[in-house]
């Protein structure tokens, strides 16, 4: 917005042209490589297929028996998401402690200590880098792939979903928790340190209490996301609503599918509402 302030150098504008050109090339190449063909989507057959597909969803099946039988999967989805996030906190929090740079690696908590030898320094850095790498790996693999793996390892059902959410979300929560700790106000910690508290005590009493609400607030937000994810897990057999949506679709029970999708939307909206209300209390 303040382009006038600094006239761009010729080098910068050239770089910009190259970047723009490359981006456009990638964009067009992507459409070509995916055989994207609007004519295919807008062809009468495709439109008819979508139309009949959409029409088959109406009206949603509101049969009392079906509704009460679908209550179980809804509850299972909530439990799956909640247990998954709880597991993710249990795993992610200790990893975040290791992955937060400011009280490792000669950060603030090591101030005043004699300079460690290179070997000691590397040894101290190892848990930091290892937990960062592991957290990155855990969150880079989508939860649905984790679910697919866990379904094979522990069998069909919500347990696979809980483990999948636990791993994938621990990766996300661990990273965010570490970032929150890194941006924490270190004065209370340094005061405790100066008064002679041990490092674990400094972390426990000096760093964590002031930022605990931020943790909880972010965990609540993730719980909301987990609800969405939990509903999808079932597509690979990991329990919850998704499993029933998948079965209903495969049996061509489109009206039941519509009901289940509606329930999913309601569930997500309810989780949205609860989590945003609670988060506002924590703000």
């Amino acid at each position: 917005m303040n382009q006038a302030a600094v006239p761009p150098s010729p080098g910068a504008s050239r770089e910009r042209r190259i970047l723009t050109g490359a981006s456009l090339l990638i964009l067009l190449g992507s459409f070509a490589y995916t055989q994207s063909n609007p004519a295919l989507l807008l062809s009468p057959e495709a439109l008819r297929a979508i139309g009949s597909f959409a029409a088959a969803f109406f009206p949603p099946d509101l049969n009392r028996d079906f509704l009460s039988s679908s209550l179980g999967p809804v509850i299972e989805t909530v439990q799956l998401a909640t247990a998954g996030v709880a597991l993710a906190i249990l795993v992610g929090f200790p990893m975040a402690l290791l992955a937060a740079g400011n009280f490792h690696l000669g950060g603030a908590l090591f101030e005043g200590d004699p300079e460690p030898s290179p070997a000691v320094r590397r040894l101290r850095a190892a848990p930091y880098w290892l937990s960062r790498l592991l957290l990155n790996f855990m969150r880079s693999i989508p939860e649905l792939i984790w679910a697919l793996i866990f379904v094979r390892a522990v069998g069909l059902g919500p347990l696979a979903g809980i483990l999948a959410l636990g791993v994938a979300y621990a990766g996300i929560l661990g990273k965010v928790f570490a970032e929150i700790m890194e941006s924490a106000d270190l004065r209370p910690a340094l005061a405790l340190r100066a008064a002679g508290a041990s490092r674990p005590k400094v972390i426990l009493y000096g760093i964590i209490p002031p930022i605990f609400r931020q943790f909880l607030s972010y965990a609540l937000y993730r719980w909301e996301c987990a609800m969405r994810a939990a509903a999808i897990m079932g597509f690979v057999g990991a329990g919850g609503l998704g499993q029933h949506i998948e079965i209903a679709m495969r049996m061509f029970e489109h009206r039941q599918t519509a009901t289940l999708i509606l329930e999913l939307a309601l569930l997500v909206a309810a989780a949205d509402f609860i989590s945003s209300r609670l988060r506002r209390k924590l703000a």
């Binding site: 992507s30 995916t34 063909n37 495709a46 597909f53 299972e76």
Partner: protein
């Protein structure tokens, strides 16, 4: 925490009372209730039998398949997933941009003041367009990508194009909502000035509101691309191409040794896109 006397800035007081109690109590109760609900499953997990089963499975994953022909296949699937994420994000951004003008409320663009005496019919039409745009965005957003993918596989056949459309449809709703919220937050001054000078609604939108929101819109689009690369990797489970499809095939044929290779490809691809997106966002930040 109480501020020590003479410590400069006072520590801001935090809200307390029932709200905070609820914010702690409700999640704790939910967690207890949830674990109680799945306790049978959990009990089954902590048995020697389940440990052996898991170990048997894990040992079948190794060594990963590194045969040249499979690696070539993985490379092609990786490129396909990448292309799906790019094209899908572009489609989503296009849908969101098309709906953005209608999804911007009167609050932002002005209901038409003294200069433009909008007829009641026009005002009603505008209101209807606003509600329709919002409803469309909500519908697109609340149907998960995977369900969209099933629908589009049905409509245009197996393959990456269905994945592009599925990403576009779901994320059109997500990005559309983000775009609309960004637009709600622009400063009203430039819009009001244009309107006061006699500009039409569409001109006020184009020259008053959009330039302010633009950097944020671009940033959101890139952020969504980072989310979409992960989604693109799983859409193949229902036949929409890319690495997910290869993963699905490998698992259906019990070729577990391929799974590790494919997961490694997902890991590399996701991190590469994160780096790329971060780089481009920094470049754009510098440009704006």
């Amino acid at each position: 925490m109480s501020a020590a006397p003479g410590m400069g800035a006072p520590i801001p007081r935090r809200p307390g009372g029932w709200g905070v109690l609820a914010a702690w109590g409700i999640p704790i109760l939910l967690v207890l209730w949830s674990f109680n609900g799945v306790r049978g499953e959990l009990a089954g997990f902590f048995t020697a039998e389940s440990a052996t089963q898991m170990w048997a499975y894990i040992s079948r994953l190794w060594p990963p398949d590194r045969s040249p022909e499979f690696l070539l296949l993985v490379a092609r699937a990786t490129a396909e997933t990448f292309a799906i994420s790019v094209a899908g994000t572009a489609v989503a951004a296009a849908i969101a941009a098309l709906l953005l003008y209608f999804a911007a409320s009167d609050d932002v663009l002005g209901a038409g003041g003294e200069q433009e005496s909008a007829s009641p019919g026009r005002v009603m039409g505008r209101r209807a367009a606003y509600l329709a745009a919002r409803a469309a965005l909500n519908l697109m957003r609340s149907i998960p990508e995977l369900v969209w993918a099933i629908i589009f596989v049905f409509a245009v056949g197996l393959g990456p194009f269905a994945g592009v459309l599925a990403l576009g449809a779901h994320n059109g709703g997500v990005i559309g909502k983000l775009y609309a919220e960004t637009l709600e937050n622009v400063r009203r001054g430039p819009v009001e000035a244009l309107r006061a000078g006699g500009a039409r609604r569409s001109s006020a939108f184009l020259y008053g509101a959009l330039p302010q929101a633009w950097p944020q819109l671009v940033a959101y689009t890139f952020y969504r691309w980072e989310v979409n690369i992960r989604a693109a990797a799983v859409l193949g489970f229902v036949g929409a191409g890319g690495l997910g499809q290869q993963m699905h095939i490998a698992l259906s044929l019990f070729l577990e040794s391929r799974l590790v290779t494919l997961i490694a490809a997902v890991f590399i691809l996701v991190n590469a896109v994160d780096l790329m997106s971060g780089y481009l966002r920094r470049k754009l930040d510098a440009a704006f």
